[in-house]
């Protein structure tokens, strides 16, 4: 079996420093946005009493879901014993921690009383899936840290399979919890579904792998590391499977609603007359997030193109953001069905689809979280040997894939 050598990146090129500079600027913008929102109150954002979770939460949920999914690559290596993926495991663990940190930063900075974070960490209502998630997120950091340690510390390498299994189970529970944040809401027709938890798990696989592919390709290109076709082919196939699986869950979700007379209006809202949400669903989620990546990943002409793989991964990320936007904000915009068969109106926007437009502070905060995740990754790659020296075809264990 090939012995894998890992090495830190040089991190002295102008490109690297420019990257850190740009990410730093986005992080500063995000912090400024958070201060602006906190100082003036949330009325300066697009979020209202009908749409209480807006663009920041779209980014945060996307990052958190991806964080759990990006650990998949390491899990496939440690838990399922595919040694082809072993050289990728360290980067996978790093990205998991970085993406989660970015997502949580956005979530915490958006709180109405962010100064009460200590209260959130000391007062728990264990009936709340949100409270459980706080445990699961902080525990995830610890579990992945231990897992990374077993991979870095030569004497602990024999335990990495067990640590990997713990991390794998932990993130399945974590993602189930994230999906259940919405799935447990009886009040809203678009949520209130047992399907959301497994759908989130499959979404995490898809988004996480897409981000992993993009970061891996960028890191290898930027540091001149060889990245062979064997690895890329595996990742390509895996990503196609996950994208298809997400499409399957979305189809089942809407088909089931279509069969329930009471839910007909929900289906019509998302698929036909929901305005921006319908557009984002068909163009963003289905076309850009599903159909185009599948073509780019599976069409014979595109299969040998690295550009096609990178483009497919980018489309999956964009489509994923659209999907989370439609789910969270579309779900909130859909009116509460308090009085079936009645036309409802009030001063509190009952009975109508709530309008929402993301404001600049919200987008800046969300983008700041993304930048934080990427910046943490970039710095960590320089500090510790996360990347293998080479992923060329001759250097990886092609046989045991």
């Amino acid at each position: 079996m090939a012995v894998v050598h890992y090495r830190e990146i040089e991190g002295r090129s102008r490109g690297y420093l420019a990257l850190l500079g740009a990410l730093g600027a986005f992080i500063l913008a995000g912090l400024a946005a958070a201060w602006y929102m906190e100082h003036n109150g949330h009325y300066v954002t697009g979020m209202t009493n009908r749409i209480v979770w807006g663009a920041p939460h779209v980014f945060a949920v996307f990052l958190i879901v991806s964080a759990s999914g990006v650990l998949n690559v390491a899990s496939v290596a440690s838990v399922f014993g595919r040694s082809l993926y072993k050289p990728l495991a360290r980067l996978s663990g790093l990205l998991a921690v970085a993406l989660l940190a970015g997502g949580l930063a956005v979530l915490v900075l958006d709180l109405g009383r962010a100064d009460r974070l200590i209260v959130a960490m000391t007062h728990y209502n264990f009936k709340s899936i949100f409270a459980w998630n706080i445990f699961l997120y902080t525990g995830f950091f610890a579990v992945v840290a231990v897992y990374l340690w077993t991979m870095f510390e030569r004497r602990m390498n024999e335990y990495s399979a067990r640590a990997g299994l713990a991390a794998f189970l932990w993130r399945l529970i974590l993602t189930t919890g994230t999906g259940s944040i919405f799935g447990f809401l009886v009040a809203r027709e678009p949520y209130d579904s047992a399907l959301l938890a497994p759908m989130f798990i499959v979404m995490s696989f898809s988004f996480g792998l897409a981000i992993f592919v993009l970061v891996l390709m960028a890191a290898c290109r930027g540091t001149g590391r060889a990245l062979g076709e064997v690895v890329l082919l595996r990742l390509r196939n895996l990503l196609a499977v996950f994208v298809a699986a997400v499409m399957y869950f979305v189809a089942v979700y809407h088909l089931t609603n279509f069969y329930i007379a009471r839910q007909h209006d929900v289906v019509r809202f998302f698929l036909v007359d929901g305005g921006v949400y319908t557009a984002l669903f068909w163009l963003g989620q289905v076309l850009v997030g599903g159909a185009i990546p599948l073509v780019l990943l599976l069409a014979p002409a595109a299969r040998r193109s690295r550009g096609a793989l990178a483009l497919a991964a980018a489309c999956v990320v964009a489509g994923g953001l659209a999907q989370v936007y439609v789910l969270i904000i579309g779900g909130e915009a859909y009116p509460l069905m308090m009085f079936p068969d009645k036309i409802v109106s009030s001063t509190f926007f009952d009975g109508v689809v709530a309008s929402y437009a993301p404001s600049l502070p919200e987008i800046a905060l969300g983008a700041g979280g993304v930048a934080l995740a990427l910046a943490l990754t970039a710095v960590a790659l320089k500090v510790l040997p996360f990347l293998p020296r080479s992923l060329a075809d001759g250097d990886v264990d092609a046989g045991a894939a």
Binding site: L111, A120, N125, I134, R188
Partner: protein
């Protein structure tokens, strides 16, 4: 019998009699208002009955709540808090129109209490669902979870609060059944205003007290909860819906 045993038996009977009578004494006390040094107890459950057939086209309840609790707003209806609102209904097929006041329904199984991560959203022993604004972190999950859209997030700085109703930025709030009034034996401001200026459509009282007017009115005719399919056992009931 020795004097010791006799004395012991005497004390025993006295204690047993006291224990037997004490619950009865407690109930008589609660028929009058609870004293401020006494905790809220499950022996009472506060409820509100709204007779929609008498609900006039006025906003007396909303104005009274605004005045009592101090949520006057900033002229920004999308982000201003609304603890109570008038909802207009028109039947899709028949065209029959009604209005009703909608506020926190003070459910027995509140979804907002289930989802609050810190336990700030809670149900008091006497049935009033409240937000402990000291530990609310402003995550707005309860606002998402409420089937009645009852909760509001305070997204602007608050000044000039009423002394009895502390309110501040960054936390969530909703109708409290005017807990500051109820705790001193009074009724909510909306009910008082409706009886004084409106259609006399609202009755507030103790659902556990068989002799209260609200219990008598509920027993005398049909009433319904909003969203009965959710089985939340709300404290607010409507007649004529």
């Amino acid at each position: 019998m020795s004097t010791d045993r006799r004395r012991f038996l005497g004390w025993g009977v006295a204690v047993a009699a006291g224990a037997a009578l004490a619950p009865g004494l407690r109930l008589i006390e609660l028929a009058q208002a609870r004293s401020p040094e006494e905790a809220a107890s499950a022996l009472q459950r506060w409820g509100l009955l709204v007779d929609i057939t008498k609900c006039a086209d006025c906003e007396a309840c909303v104005t009274a709540c605004r005045e009592e609790n101090g949520w006057t707003g900033h002229g920004r209806p999308a982000t201003d808090p609304q603890w109570i609102r008038k909802v207009s209904l028109r039947d899709k097929r028949t065209g029959f129109a009604q209005t009703l006041p909608m506020m926190c329904q003070h459910c027995e199984h509140p979804p907002c209490v289930d989802v609050c991560p810190t336990g700030a959203s809670f149900r008091r022993a006497d049935g009033i669902v409240l937000v402990d604004k000291h530990i609310c972190i402003g995550c707005r999950y309860c606002v998402m979870a409420c089937p009645y859209g009852a909760r509001s997030f305070v997204s602007e700085e608050v000044t000039g609060q009423k002394a009895d109703v502390p309110r501040g930025i960054g936390v969530v709030e909703a109708c409290t059944f005017c807990v500051q009034r109820v705790d001193r034996g009074d009724i909510p401001a909306c009910v008082e205003a409706c009886n004084r200026d409106g259609g006399k459509a609202m009755v507030f009282g103790d659902l556990e007290d068989a002799s209260s007017e609200i219990r008598r009115r509920l027993a005398a005719g049909p009433s319904t909860q909003v969203r009965p399919d959710l089985a939340l056992n709300t404290g607010v009931r409507y007649q004529g819906l």
